[in-house]
């Protein structure tokens, strides 16, 4: 019996119990709903929740444990030479389930396994039947219990709302736990890393050369984990990106918000937003194959030595990607500046640009700062563009024509192809991840402070 069918069944039961709960409440109300504590629908919902939630919970728990329980039953009957070896066991279980599904014809396995496969099929049939029976039992018990509790004075609404509030709390908890989970998993591996490499060396070292051998007999770099060159590179590319995105984004926002006709705006704004939706792989190709060669060739004409992985190319393209973040967000904040301020300025005989520069922009500044900081954290965390267009070698330079590498590039290269978290090399990716997390955290806290401090001061 498939999961979706079970879920449908539960849903159907819920609908039924809702109906009966509601009817009973109406019957008890003696024709005047105001005799009831809550609306009839609340009573229906109450019964439905009591029917649905336990049943749903049961199905979920059952599904989580059914596999391992049946597996344990099968395993207990297998010969010891299979069960003693976990790898063998896992293969045997795979074969067994293939046989149980009827896909075993190509396998060359022992008769015990074939037997076990048959038994598995039997057990699964039994378990599924049992699940349906137990689920129905639970659901009907829930219905019966809650149905009998219905009474005009019962606080059905309060009960239903309490349950729905718990559902919301659970959801928030999941959301919060996932953030906490990220922090902790980063933290855990980073601490691991710092037990191998001193944090001081990591944070202040000037040499980065993490590609240590992944096997004992491979010769590669001896490993230096000074992350400063990465920070410098990241900063450089971010700066270039912001140098593109902030003026272009801001002026676009100003033009769209203050000068453009609504028709132009209706076309231009979504067009700009497309820039934000373009997958970053695409930007990566664009940067590596169109912009970088262009810069190199033109640099050569001017007699400049432009590296083909120049920070400039990656930064420019990243800047283009970020334009809509800056323009959309600052457009929003600038349009929130009250009309009264504009009127005040126009009323004094200011021109439009004077009004924008002296009144609207300063008033919107906190919001714009927030937008820019958000864009900065976006730029710092951006991966694909730099992976494809920036270099991998950790050059310590602030020359935008040279190749630099960034934190995210290193995270990717450190982890692709080698996913065992046991060497300083792979672990350093987590330390870098943690640094990124902390930096963006700092930026966000700062943005929040700025926004909170100046929010609606002009209102």
């Amino acid at each position: 019996m498939s999961l979706s069918f079970l879920l449908l069944a539960v849903a159907a039961l819920c609908a039924l119990s809702f109906y009966f709960g509601r009817q009973r409440a109406i019957a008890l109300s003696g024709g005047r709903y105001s005799n009831l504590h809550s609306l009839p629908a609340h009573y229906g919902m109450y019964v439905a929740l009591w029917c649905g939630l336990p049943a749903l919970l049961l199905v979920v728990v059952w599904y989580v444990f059914q596999g391992s329980i049946i597996e344990a039953m099968i395993v207990s009957d297998l010969p010891a030479e299979i069960t003693s070896n976990t790898g063998q066991l896992s293969l045997a279980l795979n074969s067994i389930s293939l046989i149980a599904e009827g896909n075993g014809q190509h396998l060359s396995v022992s008769p015990e396994i074939i037997d076990a496969g048959r038994r598995l099929a039997n057990l699964q049939t039994i378990a599924n039947a049992a699940l349906v029976v137990v689920m129905l039992a639970v659901a009907t018990t829930g219905i019966a219990l809650s149905y009998r509790k219905i009474d005009p004075d019962m606080r059905a609404r309060n009960n239903v709302e309490r349950i729905s509030r718990w559902i919301m709390i659970t959801c928030s908890a999941i959301a919060i736990l996932s953030t906490v989970g990220i922090v902790f998993s980063l933290m855990f591996e980073a601490i691991h890393f710092f037990s191998k490499v001193s944090p001081l060396e990591f944070l202040f070292g000037l040499e980065w050369s993490p590609q240590t051998a992944i096997r004992a007999d491979q010769v590669a770099s001896d490993g230096a984990f000074g992350a400063i060159p990465l920070f410098v590179g990241t900063l450089l590319i971010t700066l270039i990106a912001m140098a593109v995105a902030v003026p272009v984004g801001l002026f676009s926002a100003i033009y769209m918000g203050e000068y453009a006709s609504s028709k132009f705006r209706a076309v231009a704004k979504p067009a700009l937003e497309i820039l934000a939706g373009v997958p970053t792989v695409v930007y990566g190709f664009f940067a590596a194959l169109t912009v970088a060669p262009f810069l190199r060739d033109n640099g050569a004409i001017l007699g400049l030595d432009v590296s083909s992985e120049s920070a400039l190319a990656a930064g420019l393209v990243m800047g283009v990607m970020i334009i809509p973040f800056v323009s959309s967000l600052s457009d929003d904040v600038m349009s929130q500046v009250p009309q009264s301020l504009r009127d005040g300025s126009y009323g004094l005989g200011a021109t439009k640009s004077e009004t924008i520069r002296h009144v609207i922009f300063p008033a919107a500044l906190p919001g714009i700062v927030g937008a820019v900081l958000l864009a900065v954290s976006r730029a710092i965390g951006e991966t694909m563009i730099v992976v494809m267009a920036a270099g991998l070698a950790a050059n310590m330079t602030v020359n935008p024509l040279q190749a630099v590498t960034t934190v995210t590039v290193q995270i990717v290269t450190l982890l692709v192809g080698d996913q065992e978290f046991d060497s300083a090399k792979t672990l350093s990716a987590f330390a870098l991840g943690l640094v990124l997390f902390l930096v963006t955290l700092g930026l966000n806290v700062f943005a929040l402070k700025v926004v909170q401090k100046y929010r609606e001061k002009y209102d």
Partner: protein, 267 residues
Amino acid sequence: MAVVSQSAMTAQPSVASPKMTARDLNLSYGDNQALFDVNLDIVERQVTALIGPSGCGKSTFLRCMNRMNDTIDGVTIKGEVTLDGRDIYDKRIDVVQLRARIGMVFQKPNPFPKTIYDNVAYGPRIHGLVNSRDELDQIVMTSLERAGLLKEVKDRLQSPATGLSGGQQQRLCIARAVAVSPEVILMDEPCSALDPIATAKVEELIDELRSNYTIVIVTHSMQQAARVSQRTAFFHLGKLVEVGETDQIFTNPKDERTKGYITGRFG
């Protein structure tokens, strides 16, 4: 329409040498006409009050007088508004200068989110009225003085204007308007956001300013109109129904509608 125009004309006792005039002014927001053949003279160095029920076009008329309506999309204006005899809707008129000559104070105090000093200095700065920091200081001080605010704020000129109380903010807005030496000051319900005490202060101020400026004030409070104005104009449904000496309007209105409105029996 002709009839209306005529009645408006009769309602309009002409004035010797008006500072500003409106002649046959019609205004529509898109298809929605908001002003019908308004004819009104504004007398120099007097306070003219515009009264009338909500939506009758008081604010709209006021905004016509310094072309603030230009900033709204889809507004069409017919007729003539003059300042010192010159049509302000003339193509050759520079709006920016015009608005400097005809200042405006709004219903809700709207100080810029800058310091008190910068708020007042804003106008003179953008119009290039001063040549030195000293001159600017002087203008700021005098303007604040005129707005009756100097005493209260002289120790904190560099603190944000948004930290002032509502009444202070409104007086700051008046100071800001005064700083560009306008000839006319338009005020759109300048006290509606203020408590009675702050209102009293602003009214006192208007009375003082009258000696130097021509003032037009929109108000929904008839008491206020009676207290501060020398002339009163009553608008109704986009038409100017009656205009005259304030005393006359309040004691002896000629039009039935005016009478109904000021005695509160109206509507």
